[in-house]
Structures are given as C-alpha cells and as structure tokens.
Symmetry: C2
Subunit: 135 residues, 2 copies
DNA sequence: TCAAAAATAATAACTGTTACTAGTTTTACG
DNA sequence: CGTAAAACTAGTAACAGTTATTATTTTTGA
C-alpha cells in the first residue's frame, strides 16, 4: 500500500521553505526556517515546516545533516560536498575541497553490502574562534 | 570556575557501562546499555547512564556517534575508523578499510580554521538487506 | 463551479535527554 | 578504624525537538 499522495499539490508554504533554503546557504534548522518564514506567513505552523522538510528530504530536493547538535540541519545543496562544524561556536560551513568520492570504492573493498554514499563532518576550530583562543 | 569534580571516584555503575561498551562492539544507545546493565543493577537509573556516557565522552574514553537516527550511539573504540549505516535496517557497523586521515590535509588546504578530526558515515545496504531486496 | 485530494494551523502527544534533589557510596585523612 | 567532605546514585520532574491528530482551508482537475 502506498501512503504517498498521488500527486503533489502546490503550496505557498512549501515554496517559501524551499526558497529560504536555496537562498540562504546556512544549513538551517526547522526552527530557523520557521522563524524566518513567519514574516511572510504569520500563521505558519512549526508542524508544517517539519512535514515539508521531511517530504523534501524524501524527494531528494534537500539533504538532512546530522552532525551531533540538539537538532537536525538541512542543506539545499545536494551536490557532493563536505561540512565543517566548529567545536567552539557550533557553526556549520561548507568545506571547499577537492572531490573525494573515491573513498566509496575504498570502503567497498572489504565490504559485502552496497555503499551508495557518505557524509563527512570535519571538526575543529573555525577561523574566528581560532583567532579568539590565540588572543 | 571549574565545574568538574576534582577527583573521580570509582563507581560500580560506571564500570559496568564501560565494561559493556568495551565488550560488545555494537555501538549501543544509552537505552541499550541501560537495559543490559539492569540485569546486574536492577535499580540503575537511565539518568546515571546518560550522565556517565557524557562524562566518558568528555574524558575521551568513548566516542559519540551522531548518524541521524532518533538517538545517539556510543563507541568504545576510539581509534580512527569509519562506520556504515544501513538505509534499510539502520544497523551500524565498523568499516574495515585503509586509513584515510590524509583527507584532513585536503580539507585544510583552502580552510582558514583548524581541522582536528572528522567523522565519516557511509550509507547503503548492508549485506543481509541487500540479499533481501534481490530475492 | 464543485467535489476529491492535498495541505494547513493549532494543538496534543511522544521520545530522547537533561536537571534536580534527597539519600548513598567512595575517598582521604586524622 | 571513624568520619566528614566530595562524588555519585535513584527517582522523578522538566525540557526540547519532533511527530501525530483533527478540523478546516487550499489546490486541482473535470
């Protein structure tokens, strides 16, 4: 039995969510999006944000980032790239580095299952926190 | 001001937690550990498990794994190694592959902060789930 | 225009985790 | 030893992020 809707209707709220994520590449949480969108949709419900984020993740329009904080983050950039999380301030940023998808092959070598992708989270001190600590 | 205890007392409960994690390399959640230890400590509190897991993580005795499920997992193996999470059954396993810590250098190349480490989570189908789907 | 399907707002419920408190265990030292 | 201070625990309440429920509204296609 298929529990998915047969067709997807358009929804102004969902459009606003996608628009926010695609405009600000700041890996927002559901709550961040909720508060930002409230300016245009004062009555929007947090549940609506969560429901659409789940839906969009399932559709592959966005990606969910689980990097150990109290809540999940979302990324509008679904192309392969890696993230850095600052141990001090907790900020998440994209990491500009050469593509290393070949590690999937390395991981497959001694593995009987099927590897389809990976997530990499680098940790350390971001530029500004590094400056702070060396003061 | 230092909020840490000045010395660490021994605690049978904490020993049992460490012992469980080091014995079964199954990346357990707090709840898994709690239920396992209850056999020896029928009155142990879930809070005690959480408190000690946090403490042990801070001490570096164990590592916390945040791989996107509903709860956190813990790993008694603190040596560099990578994990695989099955998209179907959710099982977490160690991935036997060559060390690729050199990616920290690659990541540092165009990065102004300081990179101290990384976590890699591979995704896909584990051996048994792969067999299931091809039946 | 109108009915069916999809989506929403509002709210309640749920779940993993943390905080609090009174009582117990461990430890250091006389 | 005995004992007092510090560390730790059980039990429980509180909290935060997320999901489920439901009545209502919006979207869509004929």
């Amino acid at each position: 039995m298929n529990t998915q809707p047969r067709t997807m209707n358009k929804s102004r709220q969902r459009d606003a969510i996608v628009n926010y994520i695609m405009t600000y590449h700041n890996h927002p949480t559901a709550d961040t999006i909720y508060n930002a969108i409230k300016k245009d949709f004062p009555n929007i419900s947090l549940g609506t944000v969560y429901r659409n984020l789940t839906l969009l993740t399932e559709l592959g329009t966005i990606k969910k980032l689980s990097c150990g904080g109290t809540s999940e983050h979302f990324d509008g950039d679904t192309t392969p790239h890696n993230h850095f999380i600052c141990n001090q301030c907790g900020n998440i940023t994209d990491l500009d580095m050469e593509n290393i998808d070949f590690i999937n092959e390395l991981a497959s070598k001694h593995f009987d299952g099927e590897i389809s992708g990976h997530n990499i989270y680098f940790y350390g001190l971001c530029c500004s926190c590094k400056k702070e600590t060396t003061k």
